[in-house]
């Protein structure tokens, strides 16, 4: 399946290569570089590139291209999903997935890649299993290892690998038994010029951080499970139980994991928590344009809208802007023409606004389209769909765990067309 893997940084250098079958010359990446040159933006490089003898399938994460070399037919999603899993694992191990982190930990990276694929076919991709095979590097462990000569590599086959609960390691022990669940919802929306909603959807995830000893069996139920229209589960969730009772029943992996992602049924009207008043005008013949933007809260159920960040890709003709924010700071990059305004918290009494003028290239014609405004925000302690966890129970272990559930709403791809 996967023949080789090349990691390419943003300046086009191959800084790591790994082969699972016979060695493929790195010159195969030339085809990739060609495609990269042709693409105007890094994101525009096609994920699948055919070459005379191989196929290149790549993903771009953290400004690193992970280029897999394939020799014969394989579902492309299989490779893409695996590559993303590799990135997730690196992130899990090193905290960040950057070129520097990978170069610093090249041995661990190699050991990981060796375990994750055998002859190009995924072998162990569960983080719990990998961590038993290869311990993540920590400063303490490095020190201890140099003194005692012990290693980072496990000698026994992780028990998870053989069981039907491969995601959980055995013999987990904590003094404080805790289980935290974060319900995070994202609103994807397109708002048109006049402020009406063209499309709005809510996608949510439940991320868990479970630190429980032994083999706990958890059930989590919702007050209003009907809201969940389409769901995908971590493999630990018992599907039949969900089908029959709408209860999440699972033996959790140890540590952080995504329990569930869901889509809220589209019949429900989506409450849009912010509104934008805008007035962006370019006049024909004049080298000045007006820019006015005001944000306000709407349907937030009394919760504050925080960490608001507005960004917009201004037309190419804009040379510079001279704006005056009522709060927060703004930056404008004259090269990429990206305007971003860090608003912070919206105060309903005093609505934040950004007003001023744009100077345009002299003689250039008026841009046809006003820029699209992208908004990011967070609302704590609220799930915008109204989803509520009813109860969380634990079976199978005797101790009393500490349980916590947190709600949050965020903007996903939230765009306002002007």
């Amino acid at each position: 399946m996967i023949h080789s893997l090349f990691l390419v940084n943003s300046s086009g250098d191959i800084f790591l290569e790994k082969h699972w079958k016979s060695v493929v010359s790195r010159s195969v990446c030339d085809y990739f570089f060609e495609a990269q040159e042709r693409a105007s933006e890094p994101e525009n490089v096609p994920p699948v590139i055919p070459t005379p003898h191989h196929y290149l399938i790549s993903v771009l994460r953290h400004r690193i291209y992970f280029v897999a070399v394939i020799q014969s037919e394989v579902p492309p999603l299989f490779v893409i999903e695996f590559l993303h899993r590799v990135v997730d694992t690196f992130q899990d191990y090193f905290g960040v997935c950057t070129e520097a982190a990978i170069k610093d930990n090249v041995v661990v990276v190699y050991e990981l890649l060796e375990e994750m694929l055998d002859n190009g076919f995924p072998l162990a991709t569960e983080s719990n299993i990998l961590k038993e095979l290869i311990k993540p590097p920590t400063i303490l462990r490095t020190v201890v290892n140099t003194i005692t000569g012990s290693t980072n590599v496990g000698e026994q086959l992780p028990t998870g690998q053989l069981s039907v609960v491969p995601w959980r390691r055995t013999g987990v022990k904590y003094t404080n038994n805790e289980a935290y669940f974060d319900v995070v919802e994202e609103i994807d929306a397109i708002i048109d010029k006049s402020g009406s909603t063209i499309t709005a959807e809510i996608q949510g995830v439940i991320d868990a951080c479970v630190k429980l000893s032994g083999m706990p069996d958890l059930t989590l139920s919702f007050m209003n499970p009907r809201l969940l229209d389409d769901v995908s589960f971590h493999p630990c969730v018992r599907f039949k139980r969900w089908e029959a009772e709408r209860i999440l029943s699972f033996i959790p992996p140890d540590g952080n994991f995504r329990l569930l992602s869901y889509h809220v049924s589209s019949q429900n009207l989506v409450a849009i928590p912010v509104y934008v008043k805008h007035n962006i005008t370019f006049r024909e013949g004049s080298s000045q344009g007006r820019f006015e933007l005001t944000l306000g809260p709407k349907q937030t159920m009394g919760k504050a809208v925080e960490s608001v960040l507005v960004s917009s890709q201004l037309p190419r003709g804009v040379l510079n802007v001279n704006l005056n924010p009522s709060q927060g700071t703004y930056t404008f990059d004259p090269v990429t023409k990206l305007l971003s305004w860090d608003v912070g918290k919206i105060n309903p009494q005093k609505l934040p606004s950004l007003k001023g003028s744009m100077s345009l290239q002299a003689g250039a014609s008026k841009p046809d389209e006003n820029p699209t405004i992208n908004i990011q925000f967070k609302i704590q302690q609220m799930a915008i769909s109204g989803l509520k966890v009813n109860r969380l129970d634990m079976y199978g272990e005797k101790y009393k765990p500490f349980k916590g559930i947190k709600y949050m709403t965020k903007a996903g791809k939230f765009q306002v067309r002007t």
Partner: protein, 951 residues
């Protein structure tokens, strides 16, 4: 192709001399040549690495190996260290060992002779008690691509395929592919191993062996038959990657083995599709048709459906393509939601999913129409994503939604991304040709766009307008005039050519303008692009034929220019046209038809999707993405016209019959993953580490005795004249159930849902005069008792009754299982109180075994009583009958007439329950029950006593 190949080899070869040089200089060490100087830094470093590797200190060696791995990762050559590295292959330090493995696998192919030194170490490791070491030894051994060791590899694979550890067997499955790629001549032997591993019941092995199957012998479909049902049933428990491979393989399999479920549906075309989109009426109709879906076909569809909820996008896509290629048309739409969900994932995932949706949406608009808005383009999308979304929106356009789509398109046309705007215009053109109602609106909109400042947009408009006008040229001379004016400003060749063609084609409608246009282009002819020149020639020829008075000279001039053009196409065209249109003595009969040739009415172009014929490839494959056959692509065959033999999938031990259902096979039905599978595997592991002797073999004994027991049970139930009629108990009375009456009995069959459950059959009768709807099991308790619910009964007609089965794990206690029966309107709390005898499963054993087991279950575990037996029970048959009627036990053959022995196991925990009746003088008998479950034992004793003492 060949040039690429060359450059490849050159580059590959380029590295080799460097290596050789490096090696040469190593022994001499005093390499004073320029080349040695070049590599001296590298070479010095390697020298100290060598020293480190040869030192005695483990930590130094490890440090050296880490640096070497760093070199490998950077793609630097470290092959000259091979001899020093290979010595450490037998190191005790596991990390060092692993790094040496990494090195070996990388360089063994280049240094075959030296690599052979390491082989014996692996052969030894293959016998190691630690399964991880065995597995990794096999992994490395099979990854060393040295042809000499093929026989050793073959032997190792064969051995590992029968290893106790499923992990090692999985590694063996991987090794099969490696060996096959090294030496394809081993195919036949490898197929034997694959066949063996396909029979493996471990979920760990399933994915890997199917992968090997796909690689080595994808055409040996016959190997799958017997394993088909097992694979279907194991599927949910297999790891994600294996699922993808198995699903893809089963899709191919199903297309060769089952009849098409679409035959009847072939009548329905696009238009009626909306009608059967989630309409029950249609489904019923389909059901009533003579086509009967093979139960195995249904099994596959049913067992893959839950996987649509997987977090792994590749699994979801695999299931989606399976439904697309195998499911009856009306069922395909269940995959829609999941596919749309994937659009939230990473950019690369979106790209692939959108491509597949594009292909699907051409044939089945209805599937994605409700999700139209999910395909709206965002300004932050990557260009290829935008293009695909446009494609899908265009495919989904119907008369009903076209106005929404067009409004959306209007926003896109104004996009700053001009390439995208141009693509949108093409899309508008396609919508306009497909939906005739809006052609005019679109045309007007496009004409307005002609005044756009951006040239790419205008050019695209011209091209699209040209195509649209061709479909209905009659009333549009205004537009043609407008476009003629544009010719002065537009520079994009394609657009200029399009305008010229249009004017030429419809020159009779614009008789005044056409010659003028020709005059203008004649002036600029030499500086035009080839494509424009060709169209100029065309225009000239057409005008010459229709309006020779005004254009004769111009045409001559242009033909003369064309005659001496640099491009041979243009010279050819010029010569051809001159002969055709200018009559002279040499010209043949053809010039008579010049007008008919040049001014023939041309069929309007059909604007088609680029995804039109992508469905010739299996969805989700690389070939589909590339729209070209990738190497190793396996064609999806057409449905067979005659149903192949269904019985080939029957397994000797009839796994599928519910009465004999093997616990392993059916377990997965019950939960998303089965907790109990774990135990067995752990048992295996334990036996390996040698801690608990022969526990795995005892588990095998257990299962064999279990199945034997079932056979005996069947014998006593079916063959014995004293058939035990099922005793029915009332669960819910008609009065308290508001018309719903429910009774239950224990069918004494192994439960299909889990081997720890007792199967219970409920008979529900509707005593009301209205139908009851949505009958299901609601909340259940107490906590220790697990219940497998029956599927919701959607509708129960008045006076009708239905029997459903459920499984209850009573946990070997006689505690009642309480649950709620819910109908659409009411809820009734009910409880099932199990008779102790129903918590058992009959087993059989020899008399000796019985006595041995009984000897171990004495003291606390034994309870006995002396009873008075009804006189008619003194012979053997009635005793057996009575015992069996009370408790589900198996008869153990007895050598003495006066002693009757019975054996069973508790359903939930599998503890042995033994009972014996020793008939004594004067109608008395001694009744003994031995079991670890003392409570259960005493209750059983009491019940047996009552049964036996009654007449």
């Amino acid at each position: 192709m060949s040039t690429n190949n060359l450059s490849y080899n050159e580059q590959g070869g380029g590295a080799e001399p460097a290596v050789e040089l490096g090696q040469e200089s190593t022994p001499t060490a005093s390499g004073s040549t320029a080349a040695a100087g070049l590599f001296s830094t590298d070479f010095k470093k390697n020298e100290d690495l060598k020293e480190m590797l040869e030192s005695n200190k483990e930590s130094l060696k490890l440090e050296a190996m880490k640096r070497i791995v760093g070199l490998i990762a950077k793609g630097k050559n470290a092959s000259e260290l091979f001899p020093a590295v290979v010595k450490n292959v037998a190191s005790k330090n596991i990390e060092l060992k692993k790094l040496v493995y990494v090195y070996l696998v990388r360089y063994a192919e280049e240094q075959q002779d030296l690599a052979l030194l390491s082989i014996s170490t692996f052969q030894r490791a293959l016998k190691d008690p630690n399964q991880l070491i065995r597995a990794s030894a096999l992994r490395v051994l099979s990854s060393i691509r040295v042809p000499i060791i093929v026989p050793i590899m073959m032997l190792a694979i064969k051995e590992a395929a029968t290893d106790l550890s499923p992990y090692v067997r999985k590694t063996a499955a991987h090794a099969i592919q490696k060996l096959y790629s090294l030496d394809p001549e081993q195919k036949e032997h490898l197929i034997e191993v694959i066949d063996k591993l396909l029979k493996d019941k471990s979920t760990l092995v399933a994915g890997s062996v199917v992968m090997a199957f796909e690689e080595v012998c994808p055409d040996r479909i016959d190997l799958i038959h017997k394993n088909y049902r097992k694979l279907c049933n194991l599927l949910v428990d297999v790891e994600e990657w294996g699922q993808v491979v198995i699903i893809t393989m089963l899709t191919r399999y199903a297309r060769t083995q089952f009849l098409s479920p679409w035959r009847e549906d072939a009548l329905f075309d696009e238009n009626s599709e909306k009608a059967f989109y989630d309409s029950d009426v249609e489904k019923e109709k389909a059901d009533s048709k003579p086509y009967m879906m093979d139960p195995d076909h249904r099994l596959l569809l049913r067992n893959t459906k839950p996987l649509l909820q997987s977090r792994n996008t590749a699994v979801v896509m695999a299931v989606a393509q399976l439904y697309w290629h195998l499911a009856p048309k009306q069922e395909v739409s269940i995959v829609t939601k999941s596919l749309v969900r994937l659009l939230r994932s990473h950019r690369e995932v979106q790209y692939i999913v959108l491509q597949n949706i594009a292909t699907m949406s051409i044939q089945r608009k209805g599937m994605f129409e409700p999700f139209l808005k999910s395909f709206y383009v965002r300004s932050t999308d990557a260009t290829h994503i935008k293009t695909l979304k446009l494609e899908i929106l265009t495919n989904l356009a119907t008369e009903a939604n076209i106005s929404t789509i067009l409004r959306e398109f209007q926003t896109y046309v104004k996009s700053q991304d001009k390439q995208f705007a141009a693509t949108t215009i093409q899309a508008i053109g396609r919508c306009a040709t497909n939906i005739s109602e809006i052609t005019d609106t679109c045309l007007n909109g496009l004409v307005l766009l002609l005044s756009n400042r951006d040239e790419t947009v205008v050019a695209e408009c011209v091209v699209v307008i040209k195509k649209l006008l061709q479909t209905q040229p009659s009333q549009h001379s205004d537009i043609i005039k407008h476009m003629a004016k544009l010719l002065d400003n537009i520079t994009v060749p394609m657009a200029r050519a399009s305008i010229l063609w249009l004017i030429g084609e419809y020159c009779e409608r614009v008789p005044k303008i056409a010659p003028d246009v020709l005059r203008k282009v004649a002036k600029s002819f030499t500086s035009e692009e080839d494509i424009v020149k060709l169209q100029t020639l065309n225009l000239a020829a057409k005008l010459y034929l229709t309006n020779s008075k005004q254009t004769k000279l111009l045409t001559q001039y242009i033909l003369n220019l064309g005659k001496y053009d640099q491009n041979y196409d243009i010279r050819d065209r010029t010569r051809f046209l001159r002969q055709l249109i200018v009559p002279n003595e040499k010209s043949g009969a053809l010039s008579k038809y010049a007008k008919r040739i040049l001014l023939a009415s041309k069929p309007a172009p059909v604007l088609e999707s680029a995804f039109k014929d992508r469905d010739r490839f299996q969805l989700g494959t690389l070939s589909h993405t590339l729209n070209a056959k990738a190497s190793g692509y396996l064609e999806l065959s057409d449905w067979p016209t005659v149903a192949p033999d269904q019985s080939v999938r029957n397994v000797e031990v009839k796994e599928w019959a519910p009465s004999l259902g093997k616990p392993k096979a059916t377990k997965s039905d019950d939960k998303f993953y089965s907790d109990s599978g774990e135990e067995e595997e752990q048992e295996e592991e334990a036996s390996e580490s040698g801690s608990s002797g022969s526990s795995s073999s005892s588990s095998e004994e257990e299962s064999s005795s279990g199945s034997g027991g079932r056979t005996s049970c069947r014998l006593c139930c079916l063959l014995s004249p004293v058939f035990v009629p099922p005793k029915s108990h009332e669960l819910l009375h008609r009065m308290s159930g508001k018309g719903l009456a429910v009774s239950y009995h224990f069918p004494r069959q192994p439960c299909a849902y889990s081997h720890r459950m007792v199967s219970v059959q409920l008979t529900l009768t509707n005593g009301r005069d209205q139908p009851l709807e949505d009958i299901c099991v609601g909340e259940a308790g107490p906590p220790g008792i697990a219940i497998h619910r029956f599927a919701t009964i959607e509708r129960l007609q008045p006076e009708a009754s239905i029997t459903v089965s459920m499984g209850i794990d009573f946990n070997d206690s006689t505690q009642a299982a309480n649950f709620q029966l819910c109908t659409k309107t009411d809820q009734f709390s009910v409880s099932i109180q199990p008779a102790v005898g129903e918590l058992l499963m009959p087993v059989t054993m020899t008399e000796q075994d019985f006595l041995k087991e009984q000897g171990q279950l004495t003291g606390m575990n034994e309870s006995s009583v002396t009873i008075t037996i009804a006189p008619d029970s003194m012979s053997s048959q009635p005793v057996g009958r009575k015992v069996v009627s009370v408790a589900n036990m198996g008869v153990v053959p007895s050598s003495q007439n006066s002693i009757h022995r019975f054996a069973a196991k508790t359903v939930s925990s599998g503890s042995l329950v033994l009972s014996s009746v020793v008939l004594q003088e004067a109608s008395t008998a001694k009744l003994v029950v031995n079991t670890e479950k003392t409570v259960l034992g005493s209750v059983l004793l009491r019940e047996l006593k009552t049964a036996l003492s009654q007449g």
